[in-house]
Each structure stands twice: as structure tokens, then as C-alpha cells.
């Protein structure tokens, strides 16, 4: 019976990973800006998830739990890259550059998001790029909703300052979403 339960849980995780593999890759890439490193993160995340599967008490939180593992793996990779100080120039170039294989022109705001510190960038990516609810982000980042809201607001303020743009864009953004209250 226990074995059957475990098998179902493993299959459920497999389905969830398959459904979200693009999200997982994009999120990983948004941290490291390198295809091979992002693929390594996705791979390590999947292995970690299976290893820790027994610690997941509620299946309903499987997705937020999985993304949390991915973020931890991504941040750990970044820390290692920084610590090794390897290819520093390449790393910084990658952060401010576009993709390795396309000539797509990225907006200034997208670049500005990439310049935010890891914690703030995480909530901005989850909120505006992955369109997650504050509640979900709070679960993923292991904080409370109010902290997430203030981090998002701080991020938007920083982006505004970085962009040195008109005030209207930030109001426009949040008015459309009517989320930060």
C-alpha cells in the first residue's frame, strides 16, 4: 500500500515536472543566463526533488515546493560562480547581454530586472513573468504575503529608478493588476 502510494507520488511529480519544464528552464536561465548552466540547474532540481520527495507532506504544494528547489539550486549556482570568480567578465557580460543564439532585442526594463539583487529579482520574475499569486510566492520564498508585497514594491521602485522613466509606468502596471494594497 505504502509502495503504491509512493509510486503515485513519484508519477505525480513526473507529470508536474513535464508540464512545467519550460517554466523551470526559463526561471533557471533568468538567473544564470547560460544554456548549459540552466540545463544543469533543471537536472539537479529534478534529482533533488525526487530525493526529498518523502519530506513533502502535502501534494497540493508540490509545484511551489518544486520551484523553491529550483530557486535554491539557481542561487547556489550563482553563489558558486561568484565565489569561483571564474570568467568574471563573461558572467557579467551574460547578465547584461541578450541570448546566446538569437538577435532578439531586449527591452531596457528586462535588462533592469536582471540587474536587481537575487531576492528582489526572484519575486519580480515570479510575480510578473510567471504571473503567480502573492500567496504562492510567499510559499515558494518561505516568507509571508506582506513581505512579498513589500519586496515587489521595492523591486518596482528600484526598476523605476534604474529606468529613470516617467512615473506613469509603475502606476500603469499596478493599476492594471490592482494587487499591491
Amino acid at each position: 500500500m505504502l509502495k503504491l502510494f509512493q509510486e503515485r507520488k513519484k508519477d505525480k511529480l513526473a507529470n508536474l515536472i513535464k508540464e512545467n519544464q519550460v517554466t523551470l528552464y526559463r526561471m533557471a536561465y533568468s538567473y544564470v543566463h547560460n544554456e548549459e548552466a540552466a540545463k544543469d540547474i533543471v537536472q539537479d532540481t529534478i534529482l533533488q526533488a525526487y530525493k526529498k520527495l518523502d519530506t513533502l507532506k502535502e501534494d497540493n504544494y508540490m509545484k511551489t515546493w518544486l520551484i523553491r528547489i529550483l530557486i535554491n539550486q539557481s542561487l547556489d549556482t550563482l553563489r558558486r560562480q561568484k565565489r569561483k570568480n571564474e570568467d568574471t567578465l563573461e558572467y557579467q557580460d551574460n547578465l547584461s547581454s541578450t541570448h546566446d543564439s538569437s538577435f532578439y532585442e531586449y527591452s531596457d526594463l528586462y535588462h533592469a530586472v536582471n540587474q536587481l539583487d537575487d531576492k528582489i529579482r526572484t519575486v519580480i520574475v515570479l510575480r510578473y513573468f510567471e504571473e503567480m499569486k502573492f500567496e504562492e510566492i510567499a510559499k515558494i520564498t518561505d516568507t509571508n504575503i506582506n513581505t512579498v508585497k513589500s519586496q515587489v514594491y521595492k523591486g518596482l521602485t528600484l526598476l523605476k529608478e534604474n529606468m529613470q522613466e516617467e512615473e506613469k509606468w509603475i502606476h500603469c502596471t499596478e493599476r492594471n493588476r490592482t494587487t499591491i494594497k
Partner: protein
């Protein structure tokens, strides 16, 4: 356009590698196998209720038609087995503990070994059948050939004395790339006991070992920038009673961590030799 909406479009433009699908499938298979191994390890120390019969009794009928050559000396002997079935080839050198006194102990250990191996064979068999069926449906000869799994099972004795034997069973599943699994076992022959790490060390040595591992991690990272260990929530904190270990030929305790346990996948399985001899007997 809302600037963040435009930035989201940029985010969605991130190129998705062509091999992502394959990478994810492979990682899921690997992950399932890891989870399976962890579950088996937890159960490894559980006592079995009944005394078991002959070693071959434990082998499934599907593998009964294989070559059986008993080899080896000392208390650990092995059966050499090979089989080929559709897209799965198995080549195995399966260890077993010699049963001179016809006691339940060696039967118990042998049954555990065979359960581990048989479970692995069944898992790979399912995966092989799945990849073979998929490839066959596509009817591309190259893909059918690539869908074949080769399973290699072997063991090596790390330490052997009159009273103690420490060995590792290695299972390799070669399919696209090679997946590698190691199972470590240390047995006290005299006491007829499958030893855990806590049987070998004193409670007060635990912190000493933890500190030694932390020092070695630090040193390895310092010595070579390619040596990386986790420094997030998966960072090494402490060994536990289910810790994998073996005893090496110098009677030193070697602590083993599985792939991805305390270091990224590319670091593979990591070992830490404790710089002291342990009183094995």
C-alpha cells in the same frame, strides 16, 4: 504597452533548447531511481521474518535460464549471470555471503542483496520496454538500437578480514548515458551483524567526523575551483545512522555521499576518508 508586459514578452523569448525534453525525461528516470534507492536503503537494515532457502530461490524465474558460475574466495562469493531480453541486456556478477553454518543470517543478507538487484532489474526492464516500444512505433532502426539498455552489475571488496567484510555493489544502467548506483555493505561475520555506521563509532566521534568532512569540503574547494559543494539548505550538516560508508584496505572509515546529496550532480558520488584507523574487531 505596459513596460512589465513587454519585459514578460522578453522573458518568454528565452530560447528553449531542443534537447530539454530528453534531458527532463532522463532526469526523471534518474530521480525515480534515486528515490527508489533511498527507500531500499532505509529498508536495508530491517530484519526479515523468515529464514530463507537457497540463493537461487530469490532470483525471479525470468532469470533462471542464465549461466551460473560460482566464483570468488572467502566469505563473499559471486554468481555470474547474463541475459538478453528484447531491449535489455543484463550482465551481472552478483555477490552472496557463503552459508557454511546454515544459519539465517547469510540468507537474510543474500535476500537483501538480491532484492536490491532484482528491483533495479525490474525498474530498468520497465524503462527499456517503454523506450523500445516508443522507438518501434516510430519505426526508425537507429532509434530502436539506441533504445537498448545495458545493465552491468558487479561488486568489489573494499576490506576483508577474518571477522569483517566491507563491499560495494555497483549497478550501471547504460542507456544514452550511464547511470551509476552503489550500495555499500559492511558485515561483522563473527557477530552475524550487518553493521551500521553507529555500530562502528562512538557517539562522541560523530562530531569529530562531521568536522573532518567540513574541513575536507573546505580544503577541496580551495584546492580546485571545479570542486563545488552545496552551500544552501542541502549543505552538509551531519552524518546520520543511515549514512553510506565502507572500510578501506587501511582500515579507515570512508564516508560516502550519493550524487546530488551534498554536491551538484557533476561532482558524482563524493567520498571522505577519515584520517584514523577504526577498531573494527
Amino acid at each position: 504597452m505596459d513596460p512589465l508586459h513587454r519585459a514578460k514578452q522578453d522573458y518568454n523569448q528565452i530560447n528553449i533548447p531542443n534537447d530539454l525534453d530528453q534531458l527532463v525525461d532522463q532526469s526523471i528516470r534518474q530521480g525515480k531511481a534515486f528515490h527508489h534507492k533511498a527507500t531500499m536503503n532505509k529498508g536495508f537494515k530491517l530484519a526479515f521474518t523468515a529464514c530463507c532457502g537457497l540463493i537461487l530461490f530469490y532470483f525471479p524465474n525470468a532469470y533462471a535460464s542464465v549461466n551460473r558460475n560460482e566464483t570468488g574466495s572467502g566469505i563473499v562469493r559471486s554468481w555470474s549471470l547474463s541475459s538478453k531480453e528484447n531491449s535489455l541486456s543484463v550482465s551481472a556478477n552478483v555477490p552472496f555471503i557463503l552459508n557454511d553454518e546454515n544459519d539465517g543470517f547469510s540468507d537474510e543478507i543474500n535476500r537483501e542483496i538480491f532484492e536490491i538487484i532484482d528491483n533495479r532489474i525490474q525498474l530498468v526492464k520497465e524503462a527499456a520496454l517503454e523506450s523500445y516500444t516508443l522507438a518501434k512505433a516510430k519505426a526508425v532502426p537507429e532509434e530502436i538500437e539506441e533504445a537498448e539498455h545495458d545493465l552491468y552489475i558487479d561488486y568489489s571488496i573494499k576490506y576483508e578480514s577474518e571477522n569483517t567484510v566491507s563491499f560495494v555493489i555497483t549497478i550501471e544502467d547504460a542507456y544514452l548515458s550511464v547511470e551509476h548506483f552503489n550500495y555499500y555493505t559492511t558485515i561483522n561475520i563473527q557477530d552475524k551483524k550487518d553493521l551500521t555506521l553507529m555500530d562502528l563509532i562512538q557517539e562522541e566521534q560523530l562530531e569529530l567526523i562531521n568536522q573532518e568532512i567540513k574541513n575536507q569540503i573546505q580544503q577541496r574547494e580551495k584546492e580546485d575551483e571545479n570542486n563545488c559543494f552545496f552551500h544552501d539548505e542541502s549543505e552538509f550538516k551531519s552524518i546520520d545512522e543511515n549514512q553510506s560508508f565502507y572500510i578501506n584496505e587501511n582500515k579507515q572509515l570512508v564516508i560516502v555521499f550519493e550524487r546530488c546529496e551534498i554536491a551538484p550532480n557533476y561532482m558524482g558520488e563524493v567520498e571522505f576518508i577519515m584520517p584514523f584507523e577504526i577498531p573494527i574487531n
